[in-house]
């Protein structure tokens, strides 16, 4: 009986790690935009960068349940590291990307010990404080960062020595999309592993997770560091593809925006950040055309409405509907298996 349950559990858990048809289709569509929408590459590049940033927030918010309002700290640090390297003559984009990710990861590791304490509010405040201090540092160290004028003269050499960054953003978009895809696959792999499952259990019930022997703090430190590295990479992509860095990358509204992006797409299944980024950018494009100055008002309204409409209930409703239609199409009665297994345990 016991071995039977074990097999069932293993099957259900490994099935999660398998690539589904819709996922493959999703990435094929993403590649298709590279070929079929040549005049939109600049905005698509921005979408890919925001998506990567939101993905990094998803790692800590969706999988570890840490509410952070200071995530821009890592994004900004990555952008400045990549930008300054390129400005100082080390123009190879991949070296810049790696350096930015590493720098952000170190900052993430160092601050994780401060952030992962106390209640939700304390976490939020400390993360916010770190971002504010970093913004202040960037502002003061004008000799290095250009201060309020922004970092000028960022020269990025051709990618792999072959592809020049052009003004239509084609190379930029291909580069960002590739980085996004590689990091996404990595995140997906990590989250399907036993480590990722233990993170989920921490998010759902930290007390119980600790009781069954999961080293809660160590797990959270690791994921916080990883998420910081992701955010740093996103910042590096921004700095390299638009070849300019300003204090704006560390601003509060960036942390708030990325949270909105993730919430639009839904946290906790990795695709939320990407879908949210697409919706967010389209909305921004449309609404800023309508009322250029008051874009902030619409962001606020969307946030308030999203919360009042109770996303979780809507998402779970949509999910059951989706499963039902998917089952009807494939004539399988699989989802029942999960509930039955849970009861047997």
């Amino acid at each position: 009986m016991k071995s039977h349950t074990e097999d069932d559990v293993r099957r259900v858990l490994t099935r999660r790690g398998r690539w589904g048809f819709s996922e493959i289709a999703f990435w094929l569509v993403a590649v298709a935009t590279l070929v079929f929408m040549p005049d939109r590459h600049l905005i698509l590049n921005e979408i890919a960068i925001i998506a990567l940033f939101a993905l990094s927030l998803d790692l800590i918010l969706g999988y570890a349940g840490i509410v952070s309002l200071g995530h821009a700290a890592f994004f900004g640090l990555g952008a400045y590291v990549a930008g300054i390297l390129a400005q100082q003559g080390i123009g190879n984009p991949l070296i810049g990307l790696a350096a930015a990710a590493l720098a952000a990861a170190i900052l993430g590791l160092a601050t994780s010990f401060l952030v992962l304490r106390g209640s939700d509010l304390t976490k939020l405040m400390v993360a916010l404080g770190v971002a504010l201090i970093l913004g202040e540092v960037a502002n003061r160290m004008a000799w290095l960062t250009g201060g309020a004028d922004g970092l000028q003269g960022v020269n990025v050499s051709p990618l792999l020595g072959l592809f020049e960054f052009d003004m239509f953003g084609t190379t930029a978009y291909a580069y960002s999309l590739t980085v996004l895809f590689v990091l996404f696959v990595l995140a997906r792999r990590v989250m399907a592993s036993p480590y990722g499952l233990s993170l989920r259990s921490i998010r759902d019930n930290p007390l119980r997770a600790r009781a069954i022997g999961i080293p809660v703090n160590r797990r959270l430190v690791v994921i916080y560091t990883l998420a910081a590295a992701y955010a740093g990479s996103a910042g590096a992509l921004l700095a390299q593809t638009i070849q300019f860095v300003s204090l704006d990358v560390l601003a509060f509204h960036r942390s708030a925006d990325v949270m909105l992006v993730l919430v639009i797409g839904g946290a906790g299944y990795l695709y939320g950040g990407i879908i949210g980024a697409v919706v967010f950018k389209i909305l921004q494009d449309y609404l800023s055309d309508l009322t250029p100055q008051y874009w902030l008002f619409w962001i606020g309204l969307i946030l308030v409405l999203l919360v009042l409409m109770d996303r979780e209930r809507m998402v779970s409703k949509a999910r059951t509907l989706w499963k039902r239609t998917a089952n009807r199409l494939t004539h399988r009665a699989e989802p029942l298996a999960t509930t039955r297994t849970a009861r047997e345990i």
Binding site: T122, L124, L132, G300
Partner: protein
């Protein structure tokens, strides 16, 4: 030196009036309300509009600066905030940031993005020389007003029936409910008064802190520091925290101007790391 201390105390008192509502909201309902600054901004703008458009004297505008935000707060609490008490902190953060953004854009739209200037009455201008210390008249006025408010609040909280109910509800909401205390009503009243006080603080502080549409975001962190560092169980905690913050901020800006902002943020992180439950609160 003493002048800086004096200015710091005035600044801290102002912060206390601005933030004490937030401390109570946090303690009572465990609600993370980042939109508290929006009520303060509303109060500031009420005073600015009444003075500059209708020529009403400064002192007479102050009651309105209290009433308008507190009524707005009451309406919002009953219609929107009420639904979010049981939700996750993430939802509360998102909701209140949304409110802040809407408030900023709405004020920007209706009033313009420039700084609002208010003309103080002449008897509040200038400095007086008391025992060799330079003392700003307006700052002494602020200290007096805020001091009276602190005493009144402390009296209400410790001596009246409403105060003891409020403290009971903060201590343990479920037990208070079980004892027949109408926690929901208490909370609505407290929220309204807290918003009103924030509005009053915004009006009093328009001269010192400046008043433009980004006010709620600029000072959000200060309010949150007062509430988290001070703890939420009593009124003395936030009060001491705001005094400390005010003095540290003014002194930091005066002595080490290039590190002005660092002082506050570093202090906050250090305090929160060492005492996550607040400087003056008991650990639970």
């Amino acid at each position: 030196m003493l002048t800086i201390l004096f200015d710091g105390v005035a600044y801290g008192m102002l912060l206390f009036v601005l933030a004490c509502g937030l401390a109570v909201t946090l303690g009572l309902m465990n609600f993370v309300n980042l939109a508290h600054g929006a009520f303060a901004m509303a109060g500031g703008y009420v005073t600015a509009v009444l003075m500059n458009r209708y020529g009403i004297p400064f002192l007479l505008t102050l009651p309105f600066a209290f009433l308008v935000p507190s009524l707005t707060g009451l309406v919002l609490e009953r219609t929107l905030y009420k639904r979010l008490y049981t939700r996750s902190h993430l939802d509360q953060v998102l909701f209140s940031i949304g409110l802040v953004f809407m408030a900023i854009a709405a004020i920007d739209y209706s009033m313009g993005s420039q700084q609002q200037l208010i003309q103080l009455p002449t008897w509040l201008l200038g400095r007086a020389d008391v025992l060799g210390i330079q003392i700003g008249r307006y700052r002494s006025f602020i200290i007096a007003v805020c001091g009276i408010l602190v005493v009144v609040l402390q009296f209400i909280l410790t001596k009246t029936r409403f105060g003891s109910r409020l403290r009971a509800a903060v201590d343990d909401r479920r037990v208070a409910c079980g004892l027949g205390i109408n926690v929901s009503m208490i909370f609505a009243v407290t929220f309204a008064v807290g918003s009103g006080l924030a509005g009053l603080g915004g009006a009093l502080g328009a001269e010192i802190l400046g008043l433009d549409p980004t006010f709620p975001l600029k000072f959000m962190i200060y309010f949150l520091i007062v509430a988290t560092v001070g703890g939420t169980t009593s009124i003395t905690g936030p009060f001491l925290a705001s005094l400390l913050l005010g003095i540290a901020d003014v002194a930091g800006k005066y002595y080490v101007p290039s590190f002005g902002a660092f002082v506050i943020y570093t202090l906050m992180i250090v305090v929160l790391v060492l005492r996550p439950q607040g400087l003056f609160a008991r650990a639970r």
